[in-house]
Subunit: 320 residues, 6 copies
């Protein structure tokens, strides 16, 4: 399978990387009203939305900063040699416009937009946004039945509610997703969980429905290869979503996020875990919780897009 | 009238200003369940809430940063010589707890809290929060009839709605307040308005109800003294609220805010306009839109508490 | 004259200002190969280039940061009421690709690109880049004869050479432009000049060819209105270029630049001087020397695009 | 043993973590004149003092920043499951007020304050301050005989004097403590020592009195578990103080400190070493040298309070 | 009078300003043991010391940052045309080494060093250091009788003591100087005083001894020219010291300082007041309280050296 | 071999480390016209030049920031115990003055300066500058035949050209060096290579001439000891240059650089690899690509000088 040259990104050998309007990975911007929209195979898009944040806001600014940093990404994977943009038609689909003052309206807008992608057969790679973003996406992607999920994070995001009954925050998306039948809990694995806890309500729920939670201590003890082999086995061969919260990574490597937890993986491991997603049938992926106001040096965004490139290569491998 | 020594702030001659738990102006923290709550005359409190923000969030972190900066404030006004903490009982009332994921719930919580202050005869000086904060406060303070208002800002905050019909954002509070009968538009003056405009809908509304809008060009041409004399006349002798959006000040002097507009007053004028509130019957005041994530040097917070000290002195002068 | 709706920018009432791929003022991106290129009247474009910098580099990153900040600009001028995007077809033309390691090659590329704009009748509004950028632009715009120039800056940029004979740096562009017959020195005025000096070679040259230099002391003494009236008279009714170096503004208001000089105009005056360009026949304008690495709070970029909006309105007024 | 609910911290499920006056871990502030002071078991307190700093000052601002960051700490330990605030009465005791312009006076004030804690049976967990802070604390805690010490640091702090005979700086506290009989050198272990050296005077002294110094190369070679087993053995079962200089951690993970040394432990190991303090009879602990002016992203403070939570859990385990 | 070419600074036309070991204004470093020390007329030197700071430390890092920024200073004054380095022999004398852990020892070291300059007939221009620095300097310079002083500041620094009797802090130097007979209070003027006050003890003392205090309100009302004419008259023709605390300037223009006060002069006025020192017999000057840790953009240091260049020109004018 | 005390650095026990004009490691500044120049054995010098940068500029500011950070370096190596300044005469040679607007002129200046060092028998330890800096240095050092090279980097810098034929950029120096016969490719090893790739042109070239490229995956798998043993073997006993690009280190540990690549070595390994250069005949070394504008906390510079101290010790070991 070979991509259409229209979808090839601009090279830094031609136009310096600091030049040009910054689209994701210097790809063409192809929004739904564009005449090439129908030719897109994989769409990279932003959901600039953080209304679900319970602590420090900022991820609404994530997509723009990630686009900027993504102009540093080149055409070829350094280990596998894959040149993803030459295999499939990849485009920047722009951002889904949220309503920052209305959570329910925003979720509806997101689900509707992703429904359109599903209808076109476009695999979405999303730049969040806070982690509540994953819920309306899953509502669109799981139309035909529950998905498996590989979830990198320092939190389970499985709480029931906050602040006396509020059901939709970035601490609750996967509780809702399980309740709504969007995820098959037996095919869900959560990796990197750590940090001081309110209580064990989230983990008790995980246990009760069969979600596998791998705390950071186990990750460090067993090492990425062993853990990821188990994760791939859990996900199995069914349709699987990959959700990557940047706070999975140690906050020194990724300070630009709202709910950091000390003691996570380093930046090399941050890439390794994606590279080790062998044989997973990925139907969508996201990278969420990048918060530019707390990213003093811009390093979080660059790590974020480096992870997104890894996710893209896995999507391309799965689809080609 | 002389205050109770319990309510005197800690002096920097005794405890260095960098030491101690940071309460507003180093006052005692007296929350509603404290046994001295009934003795408070003026309460300084925070509303850490920014769910109404349409652009860059952050004011939810304002009260904490303002408390920190306020430890630099000393006991005496440099021009009038007033020592406000020795005239009335002033206390830090803590923060009103919002629900960051539910605007309506948050507004109800705020109105209820301020209702309690009104019941106790406590005059509130509020540290926001975004500008939507003023609406639920006005709902509590205007129980007995519409108030006048002196409003410092670069925006009118008089828009009807955003994002296809959303009525409650930081761009709409005073439209709602007029509609709800909380403000008497004939006694409302808005000073410092500037910046590129969407359209003239807000100003058309102002004109139609009789709100006086003084754009920044007029402010710079006439000078603070002339403008403020008119403002005091508009407010008259009736009950008046003072709402001070930090983006009234030029963004170079106050970068820590979400919707800056170039070309505003300098820091000296920022204090002058409050000092010139002669004879205004102030029943409450707020300083809103201080956004720590964008306040790289901390100067916005220090300017903010300097303005709050000026507002406090005016409240004390009005009440004693 | 009324613009084509295709060229209307996205409104912040529809899509929040933090969302979307950031083009200049949220305009459509119309590069030379775009099918609507022929319909553009005014083009906003970037020249991300700083190879002429003798001190602190960074302006190569200017266009991208200015695009980001420009998403805060709305549709209407607050004083004149002009809605420029509804009068003429304005578009983001993208960036001219420089060769960061070859000054001569870069100048040729820039002159060629602007030659194409001239051929299409597009008036360019440029975001630099360091001040050497103006030279290759003038080479294209002054094809038919020397131009007048209104030049806002703290430096004359009239030096002969640097470092033992280097003729092309950001300290020499207008010396070259006069020598090459691109500028009519009798119709050139330089406003805001200040700072410690190497010597008087640049000012001696100005005097010898008839360029009017207005130092900052004179600017502060006479005030903007008087100075700008003289400036408009000097420029006269002939074709005139406006070159605005952000270091014209005091470095506290515009820290993001490489060669700051203390004691300049404030941000209000920074806008005023453009508003006072009455009756000038503007055939092109630039805003140069914005250097993101030194713009710790982003305020320089926002001031920069606020100035660009003022320049745009003057271009539209001159052309309609 | 179960704690009094008065001493339970505020939960982030109730009041968002950015709200409220920031006390340590959201505990009640109970200063010596408070009527519940006598019920405190473990006191967390600040010593905002850096007069002993020989290089870059700043730790005087440490306690306030640590309190702010500590509002992110929740109620339960993620590995042991311990809920320390429900076992013992833990409170924020406020700050000890130093005299920033008089070292001797400050040391006397600190020793006096801690003497009061000892008299009340309160175990202190201190947020410094520079490392000289530990000396006046040890003077109070070692009233009944020398203590053992587990010391995490990149420096021994065992020098004799600085600047021609100055005996009290942050490079000398433990030399003084040994000389004054406050520490039993045979029960002292220093872990993580590294960085270029003036000379070997400090290590020669350590050797001569029997202090065990474990340089970072040995730490990395043997690993945390092996090193900490030896450390626990050295401390033995006698009363032991734990002194944790944040510069023990690699400066990339903890940039906010005055005397960084390259090549230290990562953030996971920073927590691990405390978790491995098995069976140590801890009578007090400190976390020192956090310097907010050099902590550009705030990550050092958050790592610092994460370490303090680990220390607190060990104190609670030792005392219950 | 013409200077020796040995003392001419390096030009930015030869060596780019970012290159080279940064000495003050790119002058030769001539310490007391240098064989050209005896030829120096004016010495620029640093006192990296902040042990007298009662609030936020940092000025110990001032001299180094000021040297760095001073490489932007060129050879000629833009208004007077003076080329100071060609009139007198000016050199960088290095720093006076303080003892950061001993105030009395440090003051003795400073006085001894300046005594050596007086003995050589060198006029000192000092970069502090906090304001206590001025006291040991005055002890050396006022050997033959009390001096007059022009003092730019937002504080009087005339307090008796801090923290229960501590006599030597940066809030007390001029109280001590008057008491010790180093200053003639009738010839002392303090300009720019402002900010909230502890009490009026300092101003009462000023009044009692005849020091003229000009608060900022008077400065803004009368304007720099009128105020400075009075200041020059007060200083008269006797030997006079000029002490310039950077916090005289508004903190937006000079954020890098420890005790900011809102509402001061802007950067143009910051230079103007020095330019207006007509006919003052300056025997020494300092620029103090520049605190790099709080100078996020480096602008304070650049403003500081711009002021130092103005002071230097006045010293040269007075001496030639 | 024992050094002359003239060349001993100032101790932090005498003069605090924040005091004094900052030379490299507080050594005497001995430029070519200094009368002790002939006695220097090892010269530390800066090349403040970044005209070869294709992406983000800044390394021209490297030498100054590295000098500042280097005042934290002490006299003795913590592992080997070597006191390098007491073995050989080490001096700060100042900076080579580049022409920032002319690449060819700058390369000639650099080669000429280093030719002078070679003539004097001075071994150079260089602080860059971007990586193109190494080419003109090699032209001077390889006068008598090609050198071996140990090259730490995340990029090979072996590309043929950029931007349509530009031969001299920081991505091409070693391609040129091989072509010019300055390097013996069989004795060249490149360690740490990683990041997304344009294509494989550089690696194909490496293979074709016999350069050994060790990608980061191999580095992490085999560990530093094994990799460095191979590297030493490749370099052999012939004259060898060591070129250390700071972007070899993971960008979290070294954010201050222009072309970061995620997933590199940590700071401990950054030192280890130099310590493991056993028996290499080092005739010169450099540390390049430190870019202060992107080094928000200053940590990159401190890591950089820590690496330079390690390189210095290896040079001294090789020469004594």
């Amino acid at each position: 399978m070979t991509s259409d040259p229209f979808f090839h990104p601009v090279s830094g050998f031609e136009l310096p990387r600091f030049a040009g309007v910054p689209s994701f990975m210097r790809l063409p911007v192809v929004q739904p009203d564009h005449d090439r929209f129908g030719d897109v195979n994989v769409g990279i898009l932003g959901v600039p939305w953080d209304s679900g944040t319970t602590n420090r806001p900022g991820p609404r600014h994530g997509p723009r900063q990630l686009r900027d940093a993504s102009t540093m990404i080149r055409a070829q994977h350094p280990v596998s040699g894959l040149r993803p943009f030459e295999v499939l038609n990849v485009a920047d689909l722009g951002d889904v416009g949220p309503n920052p003052a209305d959570i329910m309206d925003s979720m509806d807008r997101i689900t509707a937009f992703y429904g359109g992608l599903v209808a076109q057969g476009i695999t979405p790679l999303t730049a969040g946004g806070d982690h509540l973003t994953s819920l309306p996406i899953l509502r669109a992607l799981a139309k035909d039945g529950p998905l498996g999920m590989v979830h990198f994070d320092s939190h389970t995001d499985l709480y029931h509610s906050y602040f006396g009954g509020t059901m939709y925050t970035h601490g609750t998306p996967f509780r809702r997703a399980v309740e709504e039948g969007l995820l098959d809990p037996k095919r869900v694995v959560m990796i990197g969980i750590r940090g001081t806890m309110y209580d064990t309500e989230d983990r008790d729920f995980a246990k009760s429905v069969g979600i596998r939670v791998i705390p950071i201590e186990e990750f460090h003890d067993r090492g990425p290869a062993d853990v990821m082999a188990e994760a791939c086995e859990i996900a199995g061969t069914g349709k699987t979503y990959v959700s990557y919260d940047i706070d999975f990574v140690d906050p020194t490597f990724a300070p630009g996020t709202g709910t950091p937890e000390v003691g996570g993986p380093n930046s090399y491991q941050a890439l390794q875990v994606v590279r080790m997603l062998e044989g997973v049938n990925i139907v969508g992926a996201d990278l969420v919780e990048v918060s530019p106001p707390f990213d003093t040096s811009g390093g979080t965004a660059f790590l974020g897009v480096s992870i997104m490139f890894e996710l893209l290569c896995k999507i391309v491998e799965a689809r080609r």
